[in-house]
Structures are given as C-alpha cells and as structure tokens.
Symmetry: C2
Subunit: 234 residues, 2 copies
DNA sequence: GTCTATAAAGTGATAGAC
DNA sequence: GTCTATCACTTTATAGAC
C-alpha cells in the first residue's frame, strides 16, 4: 500500500492529479503547494506547470473531475424519475434521493477513499466567494434550478422563495454531514456510531424530507388553508 | 466611512484585532498575511508579533473572541429554559431557538457587519481537521453535550446515536445557511429574496424542528410503536 | 517529457535603534 | 510601544539543458 502515489503504473500526469486530489481533500486548497503535490507524485517540481499550465489549472481540473460527474448524475436521475412518473409530482424523498445518491455512486468510481472524497466535496461546497471554476459553477447552477422546479412541483403549497431557502438548508445539512463526519465522532465521544453510507443517506433523506415538507400541503392531498407566515413565532 | 481600520480612536492592539477579524472573515484564515493585517490596521509589520506573539496567537484570539460568547449565551439560554420549565421536556423549537438565537444577539455586539460575522462563523465551523484553539474546542464540545441531553429529553423516542446525527444535520443546515447566504442569492438568481435575520431564524427553526422530530414520539404524547429503522427505505 | 537552476516575490519572525 | 532592516524560508513559475 503505497502511501505516496496512486497507481504506480499511471503516467506522471495522472499521478499528479491523484496526488493533488488526496492532498487538497486532506489539507485544503490553500495549504497544499505545488511542491507538496510533485513530491507526493514522485514527479519533478516543474511537472505541474508543464502538464496543467499552473497550480490553478490543476486545481480547476481536480474540482471539475470530482464534482461534475455528481452533478451530471443528479440531472440524469431526476430526468429518469420524471420520465417514469409522467407529469405528476414526485414524492420529496425521491427528489432528495436523486440529489444525494450520486455521492454514493461517484465515491466508488473515485480513486479516493470515502473519507477523502467527502472531505473534498465539503471543501468545494464550502468555498466562500464563488471561487469555483466556471464550468463547475455553471453545472451547479443548472442542477439547483432543475431541483428547485422539482421541489416546487412536489411541494405546491410553498412560495418560490421558501423553496430556495429550504433547499439551502437541505444542502447545508448534506454537505456538513458528509464533510464533517469525524467532527461528529470527536464531539459525541463515539456515541454517533459508525453507520454505513446507505444508513447515512437514509438518515439525511428522512431528516431533510420532514424539513422540506414542514407546513406544506402535499400534492393530491386536500388543501389545508394556512395563515400568512408571521415572523418569529417559529 | 473608513474602509481601512475600525474605530480610529482605538489603540493599535484593538485595531489589529478588528482588521484581522474583517480580513479573516472575508478572505479565509489561510489567505491573510500578517502584512495584510498590519497594513489595514495602519500599524507596523512587527506589531502583530509584539502584541500577540505570533500570527497564530492573533488568529486564536479572533476565533475565541467571536465564537465563545455565542457558545456561552447558548448555555445560558438553555439553562434559563430548563429552570423555567422544571424537570419537564422542552419543545424542540425552544431548544433550537436557544441554539441559534445567540448568533443574532452576538452579531449586534460585534464590530463586524452582519455579513462578515456570519462568514467568519462559517469559516470556523467549517474548519476541517480540528484546528480550533483548545479553549474554543472545549466550550464547543460542552455546548454540544448539553444540547444533546436537552434534545434527548425533548425527543424520548430516539436513540442516542440518532440524536447525534440529527444534531449534526441541524448544525450543518444552520452553518451553511448563515455562511453561504450570498451563494443562495447567486444561484437562485435573486428568487430567494432578502429576508431579515428574524425570518431566517424562524425558517431555520421550523425546518430543523421538523427534521429533528421526524418519526419520533413527542414527549407526553401517546407512545406510538415504531418498527426498527431499516436501512434504505428512506 | 523531464530535469536543474534560478528568478521574483512573498512569508513569519526578530534584533536592535529610537 | 513603534520603527527599520533584515534573516531565513517558502512560494509559483520559467528558461534552457538534456
């Protein structure tokens, strides 16, 4: 088990990508130098600039390579669900499943360990200031728009603004849960257990579905009138 | 409106702290140099090391100064609620309110703008790898333990492990919502509106309360038997 | 495609004058 | 308490040999 590079048969370029992914995930985008990467990959210091133009070029590639397949799969799953059900509204749980299950799919295709994969995802979504590469940002915006429409259909009692905020809360719960699993271990003193990925997905979906649905009319149910939502009475 | 330092009557030490807070919040802990801070504070490059021993010393002070009052107020609010209600269980909403309202209190006492305060909070909670100063980490662990017990009392149907995971999901939703409010603005194309802080707290509490309660027996209600929670059926 | 050598700038920290 | 000057190092990037 080589602690240094990934597949030792891989070319330098791929070894650099794999080293960069592991290091960025583990230590953060700002704390990893070109030298750290080339050393780990067993390559020359100049290799990053030769193969990727710059440190920034490699960083953008790493980000796109890991997150874009997740977002593509999200769209594919949502498309499939909507095709299957026709024009009707989907249960919130199905939409949430289409949103989170791609993490489980893609972590298996990744050369990264489960822990590092989720740390990397957390670092990308936690990026403040919109420093994501344009190609990543664009697909991300597309995904959020598509899911917003799906949730709006599933939760017809809610205003557009309310849907956006609940998606935001939902996404935060997801990201934090995945990226900070060891924090939970530490803080709980081990009382949080060590659930598998399916159980974590299931926990997330049940939690988020209840939050998304809160106070909303489910489609096809009898419409219950709701008073205007006043500020601060919970 | 001075874009450089805070109160120009403040001493150098305080100006350094205020400059550091604003810069760390806006750009991230790793991207701000000692020179950035001293320049913004209108102080000499050597001032940080004179007053705080090192860059790290200043960083630890900034973190503790901003997050510890939030955590102290959380404990005080929970204590007050529990004293008021005696030995009985609190409604989940009350516990959640004690958890998030201190952000609203402390942002007003802070010299930071609302936006920067929440960005800073997000950066601290988003820290991966447990790099928080010990005094901050210790209080944080205390707070989570106290709230875990409060939630366990409010949600007697749930296993300890389940409580921890729901708290984790809840905390993620909170952090993300606060720290990434402008991401939501950008992604929604403005459709998320510009709610005040009270409305955001209210939205969060309603979302999180539904998630925390999901499938649980409320205290004092008739006990509904629940089958074992199987993996993956949402 | 890989290497060495080096440029040019930035980093945190400190000795010592004032 | 503040300043200048400087140390010792690290950073990204590149020119040019192989």
């Amino acid at each position: 088990m080589s602690a240094v590079a990934g597949n030792s048969k891989a070319g330098t370029k791929q070894k650099l990508v794999e080293a960069a992914e592991a290091l960025f995930a583990d230590e953060g985008f700002d704390r990893v130098s070109v030298r750290d990467i080339t050393t780990r990959a067993g390559a020359n210091v100049a290799a990053v600039n030769y193969h990727f133009g710059s440190r920034e070029g490699l960083l953008a590639l790493v980000m796109a390579r890991q997150i874009n397949p997740v977002n593509e799969e999200r769209l594919a799953r949502l498309d499939a669900l909507e095709r299957k059900i026709g024009g009707k509204a989907l249960p919130v749980e199905e939409v949430l499943d289409a949103f989170v299950r791609p993490f489980a799919t893609q972590v298996r295709r990744s050369e990264l360990s489960e822990k590092l994969f989720f740390k990397l995802m957390g670092r990308m979504f936690g990026q403040q200031g919109g420093e994501l590469p344009p190609v990543v940002e664009a697909l991300f915006v597309t995904v959020m728009g598509r899911f917003q429409r799906a949730f709006a259909k599933s939760l017809p009692g809610l205003a557009v603004e309310e849907i956006w905020w609940r998606m935001h809360l939902m996404a935060g719960a997801m990201i934090h849960t995945m990226a900070q699993a060891d924090t939970l271990q530490r803080v709980s003193g081990g009382d949080s257990g060590t659930p598998g990925i399916e159980q974590t997905l299931s926990r997330f979906i049940r939690f988020a579905a209840a939050g998304m649905r809160q106070g909303a009319d489910e489609p096809r149910e009898e419409s219950r009138s709701q008073g205007p939502q006043v500020e601060f009475s919970f």
